[in-house]
Symmetry: C2
Subunit: 418 residues, 2 copies
């Protein structure tokens, strides 16, 4: 056992994100009151919680469905009636031309990325390498290490467009983008974690056309997107075409504990996921599908997302944006256009290190995530790396208000020192 496997070594050194997690854990486990604007946990929404509680009561009253959810191994591709229900919903609500053969479940969407990025990225049979391309940095931190073979991620610089009212927007720079025979798959989160960006309908179509020409699958991470949880504040449309792979999840609508990811993909990819699930996991969890199938079929789940979830986040988003604009816009702060998800991406257009700002904020009782972690696969210099932070607005209003008050004070102080 003295010799280590390559796999062991691949996951031996602590990653940036893990260091951060340990640091956060230490900060939060101290005695001090901390305002947590850093995490990815969805907010607790009492009316949504009441709804899920009632759904559990309904499940338990429906003959032996509760017992079957606990006691029977589901199909390795996920519960079959649930997959039909999801396909129907996507067909009727989004107009996607799909059936149950296009749906596979995974144990959370993170696991879907693990499977897909290793199926489509890494060393190829002929000894070359297939890269996973992110058309635009920044991107989701969780993609960083899912590839068993390191070094397969390739990210590109965005075009930065300045907007009125201290806003800005990243857009895909199609001039710089390279999708070619070395590309195994292209991946975007939409809405984007960490920026809240919704790649425009026009840009996503153009990206798809390029992928399609090159016969490269386009993976769209819609964990925060349409149709559910539907945390989308602008009028962008959900996107799916026959060669796309769209990843959905039950986590951000309030069920992260049930680990249910949903892959919408061509049937050959769905079969592959089924197979890998059976080998790596035997089967998927049964409780997520059991708890939500009824309301997925009736349309009630979508309605709850629209009536409860979206207003919940929109209200918090507006509060956060207004406080930040009035407190810091005249000091050079710019906020990324907030199209969806429950994060704001703040860019301090000033020679301020946000790694340093993160530390100062932590000392003052506020947790955010320094932006530098959100550039997986980007080789180029980019001054946004250490000029940005991700701020979550999923928490209760008081936490957001007090947290941002402190953030505005601390950032003002730091900016004045420059």
């Amino acid at each position: 056992m003295a010799r280590r496997t390559e796999f062991f070594r691949r996951y031996d050194s602590s990653s940036g994100i893990q260091e951060l997690m340990v640091d956060l854990d230490l900060a939060l486990s101290g005695g001090k009151k901390m305002y947590m604007l850093g995490g990815g946990n969805p907010g607790r929404i009492p009316q949504m919680e009441d709804f899920f509680r009632a759904e559990m009561e309904t499940l338990m009253a429906d003959s032996d469905r509760f017992e079957r959810a606990l006691g029977i191994y589901d199909h390795p591709g996920g519960n079959v009636p649930f997959r039909s229900a999801v396909a129907s919903l996507l067909r009727s609500d989004c107009g996607w031309d799909i059936g149950p053969e296009n749906i596979a479940l995974t144990q959370g969407s993170q696991n879907a990325f693990f499977l897909l990025m290793n199926l489509l990225g890494g060393k190829t049979e002929d000894g070359a390498q297939a890269n996973i391309v992110f058309p635009m940095s920044p991107e989701y931190i969780g993609y960083e290490d899912v590839g068993i073979q390191a070094g397969t991620l390739k990210s590109f610089l965005p075009r930065v467009t300045l907007l009125d009212d201290a806003r800005f927007k990243y857009e895909i720079d199609f001039q710089g983008l390279r999708i070619d025979e070395s590309t195994g798959a292209v991946c975007v989160s939409r809405p984007c974690n960490p920026t809240g960006n919704n790649i425009s309908d026009e840009q996503i179509q153009k990206l798809y056309d390029i992928c399609s020409d090159q016969n490269v699958p386009l993976i769209i991470d819609a964990a925060y997107g349409l149709p559910f949880p539907g945390i989308v504040f602008d009028d962008s449309k959900p996107f799916y075409k026959p060669e796309c792979i769209v990843i959905l999840s039950l986590s951000k609508l309030g069920l992260p504990g049930l680990r249910t990811g949903i892959v919408v993909a061509p049937p050959d990819i769905v079969e592959k996921i089924e197979k890998l699930n059976s080998i790596f996991n035997l089967s998927c969890g049964g409780m997520g599908p059991a708890l939500t199938r009824r309301s997925m079929e009736s349309g009630e789940l979508l309605q709850k997302c629209r009536d409860l979830l979206l207003p919940h986040y929109e209200k918090r988003r507006d509060l956060a944006v207004n406080m930040l604009i009035s407190g810091l816009a005249d000091k050079g702060l710019r906020i990324h256009e907030s199209g969806g998800a429950f994060f704001l991406w703040l860019w301090f257009d000033a020679p301020l290190s946000t790694t340093e700002l993160y530390r100062k904020l932590k000392e003052s009782g506020v947790i955010v995530v320094p932006g530098k972690y959100y550039f997986p696969g980007l080789a180029e210099d980019f001054d946004h790396r250490d000029r940005c932070i991700r701020l979550s607005f999923s928490q209760d209003l008081d936490t957001i208000e007090k947290g941002i008050e402190i953030l505005v004070d601390v950032a003002n102080r730091e900016l004045e020192k420059l």
Copy 2:
């Protein structure tokens, strides 16, 4: 996308077990009544189901614990209070010298094997190969393909001891066993799936001593074993030492839908699992821990396993054994000593192909699993490969009785043809 990744190709061809699953699925989805003696699903035990239902009601009545189980990402190593509860139980019930730092959860025990067998087996940094050694065939079918690098499994022939009353027992042949610098880990299931074998206390101690001398971790798959679910019919003891890795599960006590595997291991392995969970899965499911923590702490879960689960399986085991002995013992059938789990391993000591017998049984309405799938990593010839079947006795008594009646008839007919 014309070029395939090595990972894609690794999992491209259909595996034996998958062919079998498809075949079973076809058989079971036809119109014909089938007696299912093939599966690994635990039996449905009404009193256990009542118990879990009551536990869910208790959980839902306990302030917001239900909401937290659904709505909050657990620690990537698994729910922290639950891990403490498991450690306490193992300390007090089994006398193992462990604490919470020795416990990590996974999304089912299959996923624990995926993580461990890739951490400890496969290509090493110096270009050699670390093998996963099964000291004795047959072994669990599910180990076959978890290694991302194919060809790392190495299995050894057992010593076959004939016993009275048409019984026999496989034992480790320590003369033939090679554990050396090419060994990354040693793994046994105890009780064994598929044979029901409990490696004797003496043999497991000897195996551990050899591993310990070579500084190789010994992995014990106790998914069916002690202390829970505790489907153990003889007086063998649970085994754990400081350099062991023991894998437990909530599946076989009736909760496969909640995907909760438990790794008991040295702290450095636990940290590794935590890290891989966070990268591949973000976190573990929250419902298994939430539903069982109370009864894990109070000792009630163990008591239910002893009072309800064990007698349930013992009764079925006795029925099956008696019918098989009286129907086939004089024709050359031998049954492996049934030490635990809910399978019987039948060895037809006659020139009969059990692949062929499987087909005949299927035609006659009985599903079993042909033995040939249970020899992962065995290179040697071994006439047990196609002379054995695995028979599950987890189902209701009527299924077992009718199924075995047919099996006895069909096997008698086939044996008489020889």
